[in-house]
């Protein structure tokens, strides 16, 4: 049993806004739903499967299904942080493959830039680690910094190597008129920017923006009936990593397992990948993903990114050609959705001409949600051009 080529991405839409003070979060979800469905040539009335994460207002997907007027026969409101939309692609493809639904809608929306973000996962009370982490001042950039500091210690990785990741993202973002940060930066700019949580500088961190995105997945019959060029889901994997009772290795993510499973299901190898969308909450998140997905050996990520490896269109492994979350956007503080959307653009040949990867046939999108060093949700999706 496999999802390989059983489901097709027919619609993808990224909200154009980066500051949306006049929208409710529900309205942002609705706008991206309409955008993705219009891209597919479908309507809300066609949707029978709905997938959303913890950014959706209300209990699970109930409130948004009501708000959107969906006739849903399959719903998944699972959450693992900002990577969950990649997980949802796998879940939607499995639901389509088994006939549980035929048109699956995935939505993301949020306003962390212009309003206080509702804390996800707090509905049912504080989590069990609450008395052992926040009391010590645990914060997001700090736990990512702990992984970076340990990687530097074990492997000799440098801040300059991490900065190469931001440089590549900024080179791409200059072509994206909607990107929050379009200025091209240098390695020196990154390492001379203020320290946020050592060894991570301000420019090692992603942006904070409002916005959202949506995807529409359909079964093969519907894909064939649409005028739109669709993208095949070839494989998916996901993995949760956590502290293991205090025995974690903070330099390793669940990408080792989610990547292995996705490659196995897709039946492709690392050398087949033309483009990668990697959730870039911080530069270190990208470095660990490159290693754990097997594009280079553990500890070699710092050397791997040198020499323009990640720079489109001609680098060895072009990544995040929209500028990613390091430069473009980070709706709802969740970066998995936009990694999928840009991967779909690449496979459709619809990325900006300056960063379109020539003859892009196979792409990988990958996310690390939650927190490095403590607990994270990883998901990997491998996509193929419809005719590839």
């Amino acid at each position: 049993m496999t999802i390989r080529r059983k489901a097709f991405i027919a619609g993808a839409y990224e909200h154009p806004g980066r500051e949306l003070p006049d929208r409710s979060i529900a309205q942002i979800h609705a706008e991206v739903a309409l955008g993705a469905l219009a891209d597919a040539g479908l309507t809300l009335a066609d949707v029978d499967g709905y997938f959303t994460g913890g950014d959706a207002p209300g209990l699970g997907g109930l409130a948004m299904a009501d708000y959107l007027g969906l006739a849903v026969r399959y719903m998944d409101s699972s959450d693992m942080g900002g990577s969950v939309y990649l997980s949802h692609v796998g879940h939607a493809a499995a639901a389509i493959a088994t006939g549980k639904c035929s048109v699956a809608l995935i939505t993301l929306g949020g306003r962390p830039r212009t309003t206080a973000l509702r804390a996800p996962g707090q509905l049912m009370g504080a989590p069990p680690e609450a008395a052992f982490e926040p009391v010590f001042g645990m914060n997001v950039s700090a736990v990512y910094a702990l992984a970076a500091a340990r990687h530097i210690h074990e492997y000799g990785t440098t801040s300059e190597q991490l900065a190469e990741i931001k440089v590549a993202a900024s080179l791409h973002a200059q072509h994206n008129e909607r990107a929050l940060l379009r200025k091209v930066v240098t390695v020196e700019d990154v390492v001379n920017s203020p320290m946020v949580s050592s060894p991570l500088h301000r420019l090692d961190c992603c942006v904070v923006t409002d916005g959202g995105g949506a995807l529409v997945l359909v079964n093969e019959d519907i894909a064939k009936s649409l005028d739109r060029h669709c993208v095949a889901v070839l494989g998916h994997g996901e993995a949760i990593e956590h502290t293991k009772g205090g025995w974690q290795d903070v330099t390793v993510t669940g990408g080792v397992r989610s990547g292995r499973d996705a490659f196995e299901e897709a039946g492709v190898s690392r050398s087949n990948i033309d483009y990668v969308g990697l959730y870039d909450s911080f530069t270190i998140t990208v470095l660990l993903a490159l290693e754990d997905l097997g594009f280079c050996d553990k500890g070699e990520g710092g050397k791997f990114v040198l020499g323009g490896t990640l720079q489109a269109p001609f680098g060895k492994l072009p990544f995040n050609t929209d500028g990613g979350s390091l430069c473009n956007n980070h709706p709802a503080n969740r970066g998995g959705m936009t990694k999928m959307i840009e991967a779909v653009r690449q496979l459709r040949g619809e990325a900006h001409s300056a960063v379109q990867v020539p003859d892009c046939e196979i792409a990988l999108a990958h996310g690390t949600g939650g927190w490095l060093s403590t607990r994270m949700g990883n998901a990997t999706v491998i996509l193929g051009r419809e005719d590839a």
Binding site: V135, F136, G137, L146, S198, P199, K244, G246
Partner: protein, 138 residues
């Protein structure tokens, strides 16, 4: 730089399964659970062993000695730490094995290093518990 007793000491929410742990901290004792089935020491305290899933865990008095596994000088505190200035958040590896998230205090962050020996100190929360933090070992 906030590296001493002026660091906030938020009151932890005590659960039935963590009451013994927090009571011990008020006496200056760091307890670590050890699984009697597989022998693994576990952090943070909980109902079952995250290694073998046995619920036969016993409380063991930890030595209080640890080494720095990783650390960061962070400027982005939230909640009680929002306005306290930069502080060191660290993962330390306890002598008993598991790593715990904590703070390194009474130190110069510029000279702190991974692998350095540290010793537990307790900061009273004023509510019948104390936060186990670490300072460089003498």
């Amino acid at each position: 730089m906030t590296t001493g007793a002026e660091l906030p000491a938020p009151v932890p929410e005590v659960q039935p399964e963590t009451a013994a742990f927090w009571e011990a901290t008020s006496r200056g004792v760091l307890l670590v659970q050890r699984c009697t089935a597989c022998g693994t020491s576990v952090w943070y305290p909980r109902f079952l062993c995250s290694n073998c899933h046995s619920s036969e865990l016993k409380q063991v008095e930890a030595s209080g000695r640890a080494t720095v596994y990783s650390f960061t000088l962070t400027t982005r505190g939230i909640l009680e730490y929002k306005d306290c200035g930069p502080y060191v958040l660290a993962l330390v590896e306890l002598e008993e094995g598991p790593k715990m998230l904590t703070n390194i205090v009474e130190c110069d962050p510029e000279t702190l290093s991974i692998g350095q020996s540290v010793q537990v100190v307790f900061h009273d929360t004023g509510a019948g518990s104390a936060l186990p933090r670490f300072r460089p070992a003498a």
